[in-house]
């Protein structure tokens, strides 16, 4: 039920007064079915642009981007944005259930799913609250629950934990890995954090800015589920050092 992604010379340029500006120079990238891919890079490297093109929110200026659905032939995308983007007129539960509502799932069915997801992201007591009654971190957790509501085969996440404090972030990383292991979905996650990248990723794509391009791809082979203390291993430190060196170039 998982999705593979193929990018062939996919690039994006924006028109401007001084000619076309390249947000992303053409890149080649294959994401395997069921893979957890993390993209890391400085601001302006085009990582968000690449993610939005994969999610169909932007169309590529050049190249070919194709999603190959798994055996059941469907591609359900869950997208987590940098901002929570919850609808302020709906309760937390109704926000989480939005993807199901758009698929015309009956009220009772979507309520059951939404309530369970809210509990899973630690918002069990806030299902009937309005988004404005929640802290920024709680809103972001609700938006993650929303992305998971329709049991996506492809999960795209744009710095989903940037607004969370370090403790919650670490807990959400563990929760995300658990969700991914049980669902088998393909995940592409964009982040600034080197340690988050190594803890979560099967492969880490390093991008550089101006012009936005892929510098290298590193494999991370720690066994799953990963424990928090892998951060103290020599291997982790070596990968982190090598990623940091590339980002500092």
């Amino acid at each position: 039920m998982t999705v593979s992604i193929s990018c062939k010379a996919v690039g994006k340029t924006y028109p401007s007064r001084s000619g076309a500006v390249a947000a992303l120079t053409p890149v080649d990238l294959e994401v395997k079915a069921g893979e957890f891919l993390v993209i890391i890079g400085p601001s302006g490297c085009g990582k968000t642009t690449l993610l939005r093109m994969i999610g169909g929110l932007l169309s590529p200026s050049t190249g070919q981007l194709s999603l190959t659905p798994g055996e059941d032939g469907r591609t359900t995308t869950g997208f987590v944005f940098q901002q929570a983007n919850l609808l302020p007129w709906l309760t937390v539960e109704e926000n989480v259930a939005l993807p199901l509502r758009l698929k015309n799932v009956k009220r009772d069915g979507r309520r059951a799913v939404a309530e369970e997801l809210c509990v899973r992201v630690g918002l069990g007591q806030f299902v009937k609250s309005l988004p404005r009654e929640l802290s920024g971190g709680m809103q972001q957790r609700a938006s993650i629950a929303r992305a998971l509501a329709d049991n996506p085969s492809l999960l795209l996440m744009d710095e989903p934990f940037g607004a969370l404090d370090a403790l919650t972030r670490s807990r959400m990383n563990g929760e995300l890995e658990r969700l991914w292991l049980t669902s088998g979905a393909t995940v592409v996650l964009v982040t600034h954090s080197i340690s988050e990248a190594i803890i979560l990723a099967d492969r880490v794509v390093v991008m550089s800015a101006r012009p936005g391009r892929i510098m290298s791809i590193a494999e991370v082979n720690f066994p799953r589920p990963r424990r928090k203390d892998i951060e103290n291993t020599l291997e982790f430190q070596q990968i982190a050092a090598s990623l940091r060196a590339q980002l500092d170039q």
Partner: protein, 256 residues
Amino acid sequence: MNSLRSSLPGLVAVVLFFLLWQGYCEISGISPLILPPPSRIALVFVEVTFDRTTLYHAYVTLFETLAGFALATVFGMVIGWVVAISPLMERALHPFIVASQVIPKVALVPLFVLWFGFGSTSKVIVAAVIAFFPVMVNTVLGLRSVQPGHADVFRALRATTFQRILLLQIPSALPAILAGMEMAIVLATIGAVVGEYLGSSSGLGYLAVATMNAFQTDRLFVLIILLTLMGFVLYMAMAWLRGLLISWSADEHAAR
């Protein structure tokens, strides 16, 4: 208790105002045909208010106001929606929209009377024309206030156009539209009454002119009070509806 204390200065000022008015009328000996004392207005108030003729004319004005308001709301929202989604229509309609805003709409009343007669129809149209603009403008503003992040969510979820309109655009635009409707209900009242002043055979505006011509100044004051009360009740009803529909919005009062 607290609300009583905070409204006390206002209450005292109002009582003082009426005492001064009463005192001035008694001391100066001004003719009650020019300025009747409050005591005299109070005496005729009950009589005029519960008079069958007054009730009939009030009903006419209320009908004209509500019908004009309803027309303004429907047309304002539909045309606002068209302008908001189509840049071509916006440019095509722009001259008419500007003209409809700057023209002194009261100047159109004789024309409407000529076309639609002295009956209620012409007043309904005057009320609608005056009340239309804020609804339309606020609908455009409201639809444009859809947050790009929210639009992204719907696009990522492959929502249909109908779902986008129903679940995203309408709720996003609702605070602004309701603020426009709040202005519109006041303007519709003004439109109906001014229409009646200028050419009519019924309505509180017509009755006010007839009362003035008969030099029944005390009764004229009562009619003005009744019109004020009507406008107030309509406005409060609209404000209540607005609070009910957008209770989720923390900044519902900032949306004006």
